[in-house]
């Protein structure tokens, strides 16, 4: 009974929705990245690694310049670099996309860990370096309940939501979006019609690099203000699950990200619930929650969604 009451209490608290939104933000950036890449037919499991590098680079440049926005800008460049490597291996050299993605995740973990000591003088995690200031909207803040959710949020949260709408418009309402989808469904046919399959795929993968690195930057300069080794903690993969659940559509992926964000928020709120008094030793059990939700949802919905037909298949022009 205390359980039901505590869960209801959590749902009644605007804080839960605020945490849901902020927890969903890195998922949204990365899942949109996944959509851009896979809609052209390139599987990109490197999202996890691109996020990690983005989180690291944004902190490094915040540390060097004092401006977190320059950090974000440099994170985008790093994301382009990582994504270019993936595109180069999987498009130019017809490499195995999942294996190349795995390599880039390992590269990200290795490089960020390697550079910690030379740059910050200690391994593991940095001190507080700096973060982007929350956006304070006074007139929204006055609205009861909603004001407590949206009144004071990190600007990157709003940028993420705006990008959802932009991505949907771009992929479904513009000519280049149509070409991208055509290449992902049937590259041979698209090629026959004069579409440059390689260029379109490069574009999709590079876009995914920009988006995923923003998700990483949000984790460090958006939220914590510091970098921790392996701080992405599987979020890139949860974002991939959100993309699948959202049927490779930006709007669908957005709702899925909110669901996974809610799982994280629920975990967070249950652990700190004064009624439940969760002991330190049982907290690890609660940390499983987002991952269990992801498995259940991915397995439950997968037959009902459909990947682009040429997803993961290198296009070899004869």
């Amino acid at each position: 009974m205390t359980w039901i009451i505590s869960i209801l209490n959590i749902f009644a608290n605007p804080l839960f929705y605020k945490i849901t939104l902020t927890a969903a933000t890195p998922f949204i950036f990365a899942a949109l990245g996944g959509v851009f890449s896979e809609i052209t037919g390139v599987v990109n499991i490197a999202l996890e690694g691109i996020m990690l590098v983005g989180a690291f680079v944004s902190i490094v440049f915040t540390y060097l310049t004092g401006s977190p926005w320059i950090g974000v800008l440099m994170a985008i460049l790093s994301g382009l670099g990582m994504a270019w490597l993936h595109a180069w291996a999987s498009i130019r050299w017809y490499g195995n996309q999942i294996v190349s993605g795995t390599a880039l995740i390992l590269l990200a973990q290795g490089l960020t860990g390697f550079l910690m000591e030379p740059i910050f003088g200690k391994p593991g995690q940095t001190d507080f370096i700096g973060r982007i200031k929350d956006l304070n909207i006074p007139f929204v803040k006055k609205i009861p309940f909603i004001g407590e959710i949206l009144g004071e949020l990190n600007p990157l949260v709003f940028i993420a939501i705006a990008l959802v709408i932009f991505s949907w418009w771009f992929l479904y309402k513009t000519a280049i979006g149509l070409r991208m989808r055509a290449v992902g469904e049937n590259p041979e046919a698209a090629d026959t019609l004069g579409i440059n399959v390689y260029k379109i795929r490069y574009f999709g993968v590079l876009m995914s690099g920009i988006l995923a690195s923003l998700g990483g930057a949000f984790l460090s300069v958006g939220e914590l203000g510091q970098f921790k080794e392996l701080m992405t903690g599987g979020r890139g993969f949860i974002a991939l699950a959100a993309m699948i659940l959202g049927n490779w559509n930006p709007i669908g992926a957005f709702w899925a990200c909110l669901l996974f964000g809610a799982a994280e928020a629920m975990n967070n709120q249950l652990q700190s619930s004064p009624m439940l008094q969760i002991s330190a030793s049982t907290k690890p059990l609660f940390n499983m929650l987002p991952f269990i939700v992801t498995i259940v949802v991915v397995s439950g919905f997968i037959g009902k969604t459909r990947a682009p037909a040429a997803d993961g298949v290198p296009y070899i022009k004869d």
Binding site: I45, L85, W88, A89, S90, W93, Y94, G95, N96, Q97, I98, V99, S100, T102, A103, L104, I105, L106, L107, Q109, G110, L111, G113, F114, L115, M116, E117, P118, P123, G233, G234, F237, I238, L240, A241, I244, A280, S281, T282, P284, L285, N287, M288, F291, I292, T294, I295, V298, S299, G300, I302, G303
Partner: protein, 355 residues
């Protein structure tokens, strides 16, 4: 087949990973230079750290043992057409269950306790991997996502067990020791480093996997499903059954890696027991070209890099350099045409000179 390269398949299977390792070491030396260190000294320290003394050598063998098994786990999966990225979690679960069983076998002689503890680790690894296999077969959920999620669940479950039900002592969360009869005996000792028969068990498993894949009809079916699932089903081979079976065998190998770490090295379960050894399995199977014998050598390579990297750390080079080297190798194996093109270019040049 598309046009043939000048290398026949077997030769290129050996040359490509070797070239990939050489290129990776070259690129990594640029990374080492970038932080103002001398890569030659770094690699010398690494080599000395891995093979410099009998103690180092035994240490390298000890580190290689679980890597052979996780490499086999991932490699077996690749042959069966599943990408088991979850060896880390399966190894952890195997170690956890082997610890629980090993703790309760005090009344049994070693010839019962040792195989039973090993089997329990394999069983748990198999069960953990089968979840992903079952979900793939039943619902089509991609194993890359489900096994990653299962890794995290295993990680937190292990943390919970050593912080709660199995917790003992203070300091690092850990479980109690397993029974003395479930520990692997020491066959060679150099100071604090002990060698157990674990390495032989790992090598025997490589041979077993080789026989299973090459000489049995089960292996044939598993490979057929991996090579072309639709054709196999047309030929009367069940995709679902073989996907689950392949994941189970793969997980059993990873689980055995965990069990042997408990029985031969730590003698208890610790949260940090797997420490990336499951993920190393991916690079090892790719360097070993998914061949059981190749995997033994690839595991030795990664094992010596791991031991050597500890020595490198004393020379001021973060041990993460090993991950960077591994990632470049994996990248080059993924896009093996890069290496093939470099080789072809060299060959052409040489042919040109001869003319």
């Amino acid at each position: 087949m598309k046009r043939k390269t000048f290398l026949n398949l077997n030769l290129s299977a050996i040359i490509i990973p070797i070239m990939a390792v050489i290129i990776a070491l070259l690129i990594a030396s640029i990374v080492i230079l970038s932080i103002g260190k001398n890569p030659l000294i770094a690699y010398y320290e690494m080599l000395k750290g891995a093979f410099g003394s009998s103690q180092d050598f035994i240490n390298t063998i000890v580190k290689t043992t679980p890597l052979i098994l996780t490499g086999l786990a991932v490699g077996f999966g690749f042959r069966a057409g599943v990408f088991n990225i979850g060896a880390e979690g399966q190894m952890s679960m195997g170690a956890l269950f082997a610890t629980i069983i090993g703790m309760s076998l005090g009344g049994f002689p070693p010839y019962i306790a040792i195989p039973l503890t090993m089997l329990s680790g394999m069983l748990m690894g198999a069960i953990w991997a089968s979840i992903a296999g079952f979900l793939k077969a039943r619902t089509g959920a991609h194993e890359v996502i489900t096994t990653i999620m299962l890794n995290w669940i295993a990680y937190y479950l292990g943390n919970y067990m050593v912080a709660g039900p199995l917790s003992v002592g203070s300091g690092t969360p850990k479980s109690p020791e397993i029974a003395a009869s479930a520990k692997l005996p020491t066959i060679l000792k150099s100071q604090a480093i002990e060698l157990t028969p674990g390495i032989f068990i790992a090598i025997i498993m490589a041979i077993v996997v080789y026989i299973l894949l090459e000489k049995t009809s089960t292996g044939y079916e598993i490979k057929a499903v991996g090579f072309n699932p639709y054709a196999s089903e047309y030929g009367g081979i069940s995709i679902s059954k073989n996907v689950v079976l392949a994941m189970a065998i793969s997980g059993a190998l990873a689980g055995l890696a965990g069990a042997l770490e408990v029985m031969g090295l730590h003698h208890r379960y610790l949260g940090a027991l797997t420490a990336g050894k499951g993920f190393d399995g991916i690079s090892i199977s790719l360097i070993g070209q998914n061949h059981p014998i190749g995997i033994i050598f690839a595991a030795l390579l990664i094992g010596s890099l791991r031991t050597g990297s500890n020595a490198m750390q004393f020379a001021g080079i973060p041990k993460h350099i090993v991950m960077i080297i591994q990632s470049i190798v994996i990248f080059l194996v993924a896009a093996d045409r890069i290496v093939k093109t470099i080789l072809k270019y060299k060959r052409k040049n040489r042919a040109g000179v001869k003319k």
